[in-house]
Symmetry: C2
Subunit: 651 residues, 2 copies
């Protein structure tokens, strides 16, 4: 077992010898077991022309984006979506890393690739049969069939089960009739709909012989060869958006549009030649969630894309703050670089630490996705754990990215507002990441639900009391959660418990213990409240919603810290490992500081300790400041890809 | 004296009788003594055509904005910038309210008006002589002379004293030579420079006979009648920006450009016919701050504009959340409106409460500006108090607006990302408000400096100890701070102190007491640290920077609460007053919750009380929810001005 060493507060001395190698060493550790694959992706990626002129109109941006997507296709991107029988850990992980690599450039391109390959291609691959794979999947991947993922409707976004589009089977004709019975059934915000798509994977209620079998997905041609809307299909344009101007979001509605029986993506539910509904999954609820399987990859990608956008912004703002000088403190002395100011350090360095933390957790999520999604016989508990973590990491990453990019923009002052410096573009593109592919508030509730379900399974219902000595990690009962990250942290916690309040500020075990206490206590108390409440009453359940969100965040913070700890353990000794220890401390202390009110009022921290948090955080910031450039090098965005004019201009 | 009543937690019953009148009554109270003037502004303002097509290119947007500015001029806006001898309380306040009213529409128009009237016109009015007023001020106000306010340089933004542009007096020719000696002296982000400006008020170091007299302002023609750059003037275009696309920001540099002696705006420092520098202000530091006088109005306007943008966003998101339904909780029941969910209430209602709080404080700031700036013999302490409050309110309002508009965008989900719903446009325009007209981090440090200066004056240096019983309000020693808002709060605090921890959650005195404790204790401890530190050491001063920012925020929160309390006291009894009491409680409890860690670790709050904060906030949210539409009506943005397509569309 790797020992966690206590970082020295005078770390710059000890690492000064190899600071030039620090960036690459940090990157290798940060990317962990996916480092080689990611490096290969970066080597393949055509960086030239990756950034769009921000003054381009949204109509021109759409064409630019499509062209860029074709260029990326030529370079080998977007081909790793494969049918279940060809799925391996390798293909699954590659599809995620492809998306990550594309995210180093214009995010409209990444999202359009996500729509085309991940969602449209993913629906065909994941929900279709062999015949459909043959007829449509190649075209989806080589862009000869541009397609839409038509799930969201005007009336229902987060509540997918309530979609109003109908897919009626006409037994006589042997055809499906796709219909939007009212305005609220109109599909909206559909990428590829407004300009480029020729086909759509349409989600709607499948009705066979008058019986509703719930949400299914069917392929519907939406434009003819000339690009005109197909008969019965009405196409609208969502027009100008807050960002992602290169994605042609639009609306689709269907007036009794007929498609052949072979267009239903029928892996989980089909209609046979006799007009009978057939499904291998009896439980309609489970069937529904199988239909939504493509969303898991989407959520992992969105979280990853947001994380990379945040890393780009942090790289830009940190490099600027390292060189930009302002205010002279004594005559004859040079002005001070912005990053020498404590207030500036506190804006950027804890965010960098959190970027690392989230990155380590994302690595584990990617690995888990590879394992679970390539194994057709996976444990349903693993699937649930994966979905929970994907939902949670999507919410954590996108919330982080939005806040951090904004902080970076402000940290650069007026020059940060100029589009040529990329920050406002990143910010406006990432904005919607907070609400699409699952609204963050809804996703965090899914996380809490997943956690409570595990809790119930482990502890036999919500009625059990007296869990004070149990580890929150026991709640993570799936194979995914029980291997790797959690075990190491658990041992550290045990040691810290023995020391109690005497544990040092830099003691990783103390951090892990505090994170666990926050999670465990909040789950316990939520479970108790739920047990006492009338769970059929909207008011009673609603009154707990903030508690539910707190549980979700506390859980995710703990999961992220566990991954960070395990990631450091896997890093060879040296300056990089030492630096990661300090970053982990900064992440942990910042999280504790943000929730100091909770720790104090729940008697998990003494007044003196809480008061000292601020000082300790400042100290770690001061220690890390001389290594700031290496820290952002370790985040993996090559300086020459940043594209911020201010980093190359004089003055 | 008005009694502060304890709001009932079952308030909806008591106010149900006149809920239809609640919005207008709230608005009257919210706008306080400026209500009639604001209502008159709204009646005058041409709402038609106030919002720009978001898909417009930035080049077209600039022309649209200029046209709209001319239209507003025709409607009577932008004429209230007057020279000192014509200045009255009325003209001063009117100039601020004009800006507020314009802010109901496209913010590029508001900012272009701010550049043209407030800054360019304001510099001529405030820094020029009678002859210059006659020659240039009318043209600045009627737009026949479009002008720039050329202060910021590439090398120096926040540090205005270090500007590198030189204004050399050539005694032989009787002319000034304006020069940009190096690239970092280039003026940048200058509104009206890229396309429309014909003249610039240029700030630079005034050098007379080899002696530098510090920063002064001079008028320089930058374009000829045909729009070509004047000889020696190089004009650049900052190009596309993160927002405010209608403002033509650009760069200006000067190659020994000669202008007549009568072009120096010489109210505070002039060069006489014999070539001698003359100033009525001996102290170069005081002279410098006199030169920057125009910035005070600018900061008040920017804070006001941000506040109105936040009110517009809150009005849009609240109206949407009140009608948009999602998720059915029992078969046969209708889906629930978003605003019925606790998580949604917690996103919007505390923000609405804070919008009210900041609005009341802004009212007091406006009044103070009217009083001080119209009185040529005002006490310098009043001037300092005004500048401190203007800086603080600019930072508070703009930080609030950026966070709140983003929250509102996310609260509307995907539809909130569509430009036709205004939220992303508001967000991208307000973004830069955080860093222009004074970077918020720098401004908060000015606030703390102002507070500490008062502290020193009141308590005779930083050496005094034992201030435990002194009121933080004693620190506010100026006429502005000693009248009005603070006194009422002080009496409430005295009563709450007697009750101690037995004070009720809804006890306004307890809130005011806690806010005061946070401010006073943090000032005391900062003063002690400063006394102990080597104030010539960058490291020693830098180590306190986060403490300095905490003091500034604690001070501003207290000032804002005081204004809220006084504003309620001035409101006639009834449903509006009752509702304001609840909003004030929500504001106060939210602020206490955000700093719970501080209150607990400094023994100002018991664990039980801190834990109960969350529940109390939830309860106030639940109480206020049925009145949500009236709450946003009270924020003063007529529904028909919101321009959000989703509020009028079906589905």
């Amino acid at each position: 077992m790797t020992t966690i060493t206590e970082p020295s507060v005078t770390a710059d001395e000890t690492v000064a010898t190899d600071v030039a190698d620090l960036g690459p060493a940090l990157l290798a550790a940060f990317e962990g077991s996916h480092h080689d694959r990611r490096a290969a992706g970066r080597a393949l990626w055509p960086a030239q022309g990756a950034l769009r002129d921000p003054a381009m109109s949204h109509l021109d941006a759409r064409e630019w984006t499509l062209n860029r997507l074709r260029e990326l296709g030529g370079a080998g991107f977007g081909h790793s979506i494969v049918p279940p029988d060809a799925t391996t850990e390798d293909t699954q992980i590659q599809s995620l890393v492809d998306f990550e690599t594309i995210s180093y450039g214009d995010l409209s391109v990444a999202i359009k690739s996500g729509v085309q390959h991940g969602l449209f291609g993913g629906a065909i691959a994941g929900l279709g049969n062999a015949d459909q794979h043959e007829r449509f999947l190649t075209g989806a991947l080589d862009l000869s069939i541009l397609g839409c993922f038509a799930m969201t409707e005007r009336g229902h976004g987060s509540d997918v089960a309530s979609l109003e589009t109908t897919i009626n089977y006409d037994a006589e004709a042997g055809e499906f009739v796709v219909d939007s019975p009212r305005a609220s059934a109109t599909k909206t915000y559909i990428g590829n709909a407004a300009a480029h798509g020729h086909m759509a994977a349409v989600f709607g209620q499948l009705v066979v012989a008058g019986e509703n079998h719930g949400v299914h997905c069917i392929l519907v041609p939406i434009r003819d060869a000339d690009g005109a809307p197909a008969a019965g299909v009405t196409i609208g344009d969502n027009g100008h958006k807050g960002g992602l101007l290169g994605v042609d979001n639009g609306t689709l509605s269907f007036d009794h549009v007929r498609v052949g029986r072979d267009m239903l993506l029928d892996r989980f539910g089909s209609v046979d030649a006799e007009g009978h509904y057939v499904s291998a999954i009896d439980n309609p609820n489970r069937r529904f969630f199988s239909m939504l399987g493509a969303l898991v990859r989407g959520r992992i990608c969105i979280g990853a894309g947001a994380a990379i956008a945040a890393r780009r912004a942090l790289s830009i703002a940190t490099r600027y703050a390292d060189s930009r000088r302002q205010f002279r403190h004594a005559a004859g002395e040079p002005e001070s670089p912005l990053l020498d100011y404590l207030a500036h350090q506190r804006k950027l360095l804890p965010a960098i630490a959190r970027a690392y933390a989230l990155g380590f957790a994302q690595n584990d999520l990617i690995s888990a996705y590879g394992t679970v999604s390539s194994n057709p016989n996976h444990d349903p508990r693993d699937q649930r754990a994966l979905e929970t973590m994907a939902a949670g990491m999507k919410a954590m990453n996108t919330e982080f990215a939005n806040g951090t990019i904004q902080t970076c923009r402000e940290a650069c002052g007026g020059v940060g507002y100029m589009s040529e410096n990329q920050l406002t573009q990143l910010r406006s593109d990432v904005d919607v990441f907070a609400t699409f592919e699952g609204d963050n508030t809804v996703l965090l509730q899914l996380v809490a639900k997943g956690v409570l379900t595990n809790y119930r399974e482990v502890w036999g219902g919500l009625d059990r009391l007296g869990l004070v000595q149990a580890s929150a990690r026991m709640v993570g009962s799936s194979v995914i959660e029980r291997t790797g990250a959690g075990l190491l942290a658990e041992r550290l916690v045990a040691a810290a418990r023995r020391k109690g309040d005497a544990a040092a500020f830099y003691d990783r075990g103390w951090h892990a213990w505090m994170f666990e206490e926050r999670e465990r206590h909040s789950i316990d108390s939520l479970a108790r409240r739920m047990r006492a409440a009338d769970r059929d009453s909207f008011d009673a359940v609603n009154a707990m919603q903030d508690h539910v969100l707190f549980v979700a965040r506390a859980h995710m913070e703990r999961v992220v810290l566990d991954s960070f700890i395990a990631g450091i353990a896997a890093c060879p000794s040296g300056a990089a490992k030492q630096t990661l220890e300090e970053l982990c401390t900064l992440f942990a202390l910042s999280s504790l500081e943000a929730d100091a009110g909770w720790f104090l009022s729940h008697n998990r921290m003494s007044d003196a300790r809480a008061k000292a948090l601020r000082k300790q955080i400042n100290q770690v910031c001061r220690d890390l400041r001389p290594r700031a450039i290496a820290l952002v090098e370790g985040l993996g965005v090559p300086a020459e890809w940043l594209g911020a004019a201010m980093l190359t201009a004089d003055a």
